[in-house]
Structure formats: C-alpha cells, structure tokens
C-alpha cells in the first residue's frame, strides 16, 4: 500500500511536468493548429540558462524568475522572426522548421555547455516530510509550483482582457481582427507563454533527471501524450491529461511492463488516442450554429 502511494506521488510529480509540457503544446496548437516539436528543446535550453545564472552566483529564485522572462522573450522572438515570415507556408515547411529549431537548440546547448550530464539544484529542502520516503520536498514543490503557475494562467486567460483577446484570436482570427485585436501579436504572446511554461517544466524536472541536452526528449513525448489524452485543443484537459499520463506511466511501469518499456507506453497512448478518440477525453466540441 505504502509502495503504491509512493508510486502515485511520484507519478503526480512527473504528471505536473508533463502537464506543463502539454500546456505549452496546446497553447501553440489552439492558435496555429501546429505541434511545436521544439517545445522540449526550448525548455531544455532555458534550463541551461537557469543553470548558467545559478553558476554565476545568482540566488535560485531570482534565476528562476529571470529564466522565465528570458524564455518568454525568446519564444516571442522565435514567433516574430522565424514563424511569422512562414505564415502562409505549407504545413510541411513548418514541420521542417520545428525540427530544425529542435536540432539547433540541441546542438547549441551541446556546444555551449557540452553533452556531459550536470547536476541541477532544487530550491526545496532534501528529504521528505513524512519521514518514511513517501514523498520528497522536491516532489511536493514541483506540484506546488505547477499549481501556482496554472492558477496564474487561469486568472490571466479568464479575467484579463488581454487573455480574452488571445482566446478570441485563437478561436476566430478574422473576426478578432475585426474587433481590433492584433492577431499576429497574440500568436507571439502565445509562443512566449508556451516557452515560459516550458522553462518552468525544465527547471522542475532537471534536479530529477539531471541536466543534459537530451533531457526533454522523452518528456516531450509524455507531454504530447498528455495533451492528446486531454484533447489537444483544450488547455484544462491537457493539464489533467498530463497528470493522468504521469500517474499511469508510473503504475504501469512498476506493476505491468517494467521501467524500460515506459516510453513505449506513452507512444501507445499517443497512437491509441489518435485512433480511438481523436478529440481526447475532454476534447471540447465547440457548439456551432450556422
């Protein structure tokens, strides 16, 4: 029983990370219909920046905040300078562009910081509050940080007019323009937010998996699975999907197929959802009336 709870706790921790990655993917998907394959590498790169800042002696939480800002700006600039010119390009060109971004980030990280694995600090104390290894402070911290971030995003999208404008631009760009919304800038903001969310995921997962240029590859697939489970067009669903995948992955890995095959499990979810329920568990079917 204790072991089961431990697995669930650790599943929730990975789930929080997958939820962030899933949310980053959905953020870009809802406004452009594209899957940003570079989401994981962008997060990894941001985590290296955090590492460099911390190495330079900057206190953890300040480095954390700076990294989010830098990631946000980076995402914004990527949209402005790389994707905006490709606005009318065919989908395949964009896929190639995403894959190029992915390998460029990976290569630059390897070049700047080498491919050797690095330790990344956790801002939370070592040990566990229960006293018998049920859950660590870092695990609780990861879930808490994710929850706070999700709360802030929810408030932003539901209660600010800028958030509203972003949702309107994603839903109906032509109509949004006719309401005076600068749709292209809303896309850029979406990229900035996706990158910022990704950077949080990276900084939270790095103390667990260690920092290296390939650390996000598997996580991106889990995040993608989470986004699909929740319904790729639904931010709330993506978050729930991320947690579901995190917990399932741990339980299935521990009790059914062994840890070596866990990633296969994620791929099975991806393919399974796409075939059986493309709209996901919470896929929102927009009520439309013509």
């Amino acid at each position: 029983m204790e072991f089961l709870l431990q697995q669930i706790a650790s599943g929730l921790t990975s789930g929080a990370i997958y939820a962030c990655v899933a949310l980053g993917l959905v953020m870009i998907y809802v406004s452009t219909d594209h899957i940003n394959f570079a989401q994981g590498e962008m997060a990894m790169f941001a985590t290296y920046i955090a590492w460099a800042l911390i190495q330079a002696g900057i206190p953890y939480w300040i480095a954390f905040g700076l990294t989010i800002l830098i990631a946000f700006t980076g995402g914004l600039l990527i949209q402005r300078f790389i994707l905006k010119p490709l606005e009318h390009a065919p989908v395949l060109a964009l896929v190639v562009c995403f894959i190029a971004l992915l390998s460029i980030f990976n290569a630059i990280a390897g070049m700047l910081w080498s491919y050797t694995v690095k330790q990344f600090p956790s801002p939370f104390p070592i040990g566990d509050p229960t006293g018998h290894g049920l859950i660590s402070y870092h695990q609780i911290g990861v879930v808490a940080v994710t929850a706070i971030m999700l709360g802030v995003l929810t408030i932003f999208f539901r209660f600010t007019t800028l958030g509203l404008a972003m949702r309107a631009a994603a839903q109906n760009p032509a109509s949004a323009r006719l309401m005076g919304v600068r749709v292209s800038w809303m896309l850029a903001l979406g990229w900035g937010l996706a990158a910022a969310i990704g950077s949080v995921a990276g900084m939270m997962v790095a103390p667990i998996v260690f920092l290296d240029p390939n650390m996000m590859t598997g996580i991106l697939i889990y995040g993608f699975a989470g986004a699909l489970v929740g319904g790729i067009g639904n931010p709330g669903g993506a978050v729930v999907g991320g947690f579901v995948v995190g917990v399932l992955e741990n339980l299935v890995g521990t009790y059914l197929i062994g840890n070596e095959l866990k990633l296969t499990f994620a791929l099975i979810i991806v393919v399974g959802v796409l075939i059986l329920k493309p709209a996901g568990l919470f896929g929102r079917v927009n009520v439309k009336r013509v």
Binding site: T161, Q171, A174, G180, N286, V287, R289
Partner: protein
C-alpha cells in the same frame, strides 16, 4: 454635406481572380448607403476590401485619412466596424466575453462601460444571456450580438453585410428598426449590403447597384424605388 468615406478605383482579388473592377463610391457623413446586387456581384468583397482583409488596390479615405494601406486592426481602431457575412460570432466565448473584447481594443474604458449599457438598451435580450456560450444563441440573437460587438467599438462607420440573412421577417424588422435608431442617435454612418433590397432602400438614403464587380448605377434611394425597370433588372422586384 461631407463624406465619411471616399473610395476611388477600388479593385480586389482572390488569388489571381479579380472580383472588383475600379469601383468608386462615397458615403455621406451620418448617412446610410446601401450596396445592392445579385449573388456574386461583389458586395461582400467590397466590404472586405475596405477593411484590407483581401488583396486590393485603389484608395479609400476615411474622414480625411487615407486607410488604403492600413492593417485591418488599425482600420477598425480608426472607427470602422465591420459586421461580417456569417456574423463572425466567437462561438466558444460567452456573450459577455464577445462584448468585453472591445475593452482590449479601446483605451477609454469608462466610455466603453457606457457603451455596454447602450448595447443593453438596444438589445435587452443579450443582457439576459450574458453567461451563455455565444455559439448557442439563435441566429437572430447572434446577429444582434454581431451588431453589438460593432457598437462596442464606438464606430464612426459601420459596414453591415446582410444583417437580415437567414432571419424570420419579424426579427429582420426589429433589427432594421434598431439600425435606424443607431444611425440617428449614435451618429454612426452606415454602408449596408442586403439581399432584401426593399428593406435596405427604406433604411438607406443612397444606393449603389453592383454587377459582376462594377458599379452599374447609383443615386438616391427614391430614384431606384421609383424606377421599375431598374428594380426589375437588378433587384428582381
């Protein structure tokens, strides 16, 4: 009388296909101009071209300012509100959110709050449905919402694309009555595209007849109303 909009040599294209051929027209400040013509004549295209939603050439000057090359968003921010064909509802947002979107565009929030009250005066039915998902509104209510969204922008010029489309006659009459009130009380000039020519001619003071992307004739509404040959030839009644 001055003109709120002066358009010269407007042409528009869908890819390589030309849909408008050098059309000229003006809209009097405070007036209502109707743009009539058969299906496919280029009425919707004209409104889209004015807002730079498609590739176009020629000049359009609004209240003395050249808007020919401005981005759609900027034309809107300068006071042109376009109620598009199909109503442009944000189906997944609530009625309130559809309206509140104007607060993102406008700086004068106090005035925008007053405009919200104004919208509720004109369309009390929307006030009862604030929390409803806009996609679940009836066709008539969605048309009211589309006009309300435009009103929320405090426009000087409203472009209306077939506000009667698909609506029951009673609802159409209600909407046209409200449009007349908006024109008179809020001093909003209007360019209205309609299939229901008789109704549009009643509201409008001036009319342009369009055929395959060209203006064939124009004049005061009464001229067309009293000219049976013209009516039969172009408007089918």
């Amino acid at each position: 009388m001055t003109n709120i909009l002066e358009v010269k040599g407007l042409s528009a294209y869908y890819g390589p296909i030309r849909a408008l051929f050098d059309i000229d027209f003006t809209i009097a400040t405070g007036g209502v101009t109707a743009l009539l013509g058969a299906n496919g004549a280029g009425k919707t295209t004209t409104l889209r071209a004015l807002c730079n939603m498609i590739r176009r050439t020629g000049t359009s000057v609004m209240a003395g300012q050249d808007i020919s090359r401005k981005a759609t968003e900027d034309i809107v921010r300068m006071g042109v509100a376009h109620v598009p064909e199909g109503r442009g509802t944000f189906a997944g947002l609530t009625v309130e959110e559809n309206l509140r979107l104007a607060f993102h565009t406008r700086r004068d929030h106090a005035a925008a709050r007053r405009d919200l009250e104004l919208v509720f005066d004109y369309f009390p039915r929307l006030k009862e449905r604030l929390k409803q998902q806009a996609g679940t509104l009836s066709g008539g209510e969605q048309q009211m919402l589309a006009i309300s969204r435009a009103l929320m922008l405090a426009p000087r010029l409203m472009l209306l694309d077939e506000p009667s489309f698909g609506l029951a006659p009673l609802v159409v009459q209600e909407i046209f009555r409200i449009l007349r009130r908006i024109n008179e009380h809020e001093k909003v000039s209007m360019l209205i595209v309609e299939q229901n020519a008789a109704l549009a001619l009643e509201l409008a003071d001036h009319v342009y007849l369009l055929e395959t992307g060209r203006v064939v004739t124009s004049g005061p509404s009464s001229m067309v109303q009293n000219d049976e040959t013209l009516r039969k030839a172009y408007l089918g009644y």
